[in-house]
Symmetry: C2
Subunit: 111 residues, 2 copies
Amino acid sequence: MKKRSYSCGLDAAVDVVGGKWKALILWALHEGPRRFGDLRRGVPGISEKSLIIQLREMEHCGLVHREVYHQVPPKVEYSLTPLGESLNQALIPLGEWGEKHMETIEAIPAA
Amino acid sequence: MKKRSYSCGLDAAVDVVGGKWKALILWALHEGPRRFGDLRRGVPGISEKSLIIQLREMEHCGLVHREVYHQVPPKVEYSLTPLGESLNQALIPLGEWGEKHMETIEAIPAA
DNA sequence: TCAGGTACCTACCTTTTCTTCAGTATGGGA
DNA sequence: TCCCATACTGAAGAAAAGGTAGGTACCTGA
């Protein structure tokens, strides 16, 4: 969250789910609660540090819920809140678009 | 475009439309072609430089079309390609989500 | 002759984001 | 006694993104 006022709904949504990882993390949670280490493996390429930061921010925004089990070794489960769930629904068409045009996208030259 | 392979469709879509501005620019084009200066005014807060860079990248990806009119003073129109149009469609639910939850989002404390 | 308007480009700098790597706490098992 | 696994934290630095300020080119009209 950086802004306080938005020019449109998309502006607000991008502010919340923008960045390199948030959408992917949200997506990785859509089948139910997952542990930290499990999430880390489920979002290929992310570093521990980034994952934690993103999770904290999304928790702060009310998108994900964090449940600590006082065990040794520690166990923490992350899950979607209803708000996170609704956002995830809104991301489905975007995911489908990417799926459909993935070959086109991959064929774009780097330079 | 930074990656060559994606873990899922959403990953690919985020790679294409990620960042602070691309989604907003795409959105601003959804009613038809717009001139550079017009776009600049239509995407509040963006700097000239960022707008140009984003437009170039999206042109490169085949999302927008750039039409130069050889006039003085110069006139350049940007419009959506069919691919850009389809991506825009996929962004609609996200925009609606943002619209619906904007008050909630704005109420999130900064710290 | 000279400012005006449009669509840029370039250099420089700051801010933000991401990664890497090292380290912490806990208690069970070898 | 020491190592293991998990879920973190912190420092440091690189890389990416963004902003600012200046300049270019062209023709028009004053």
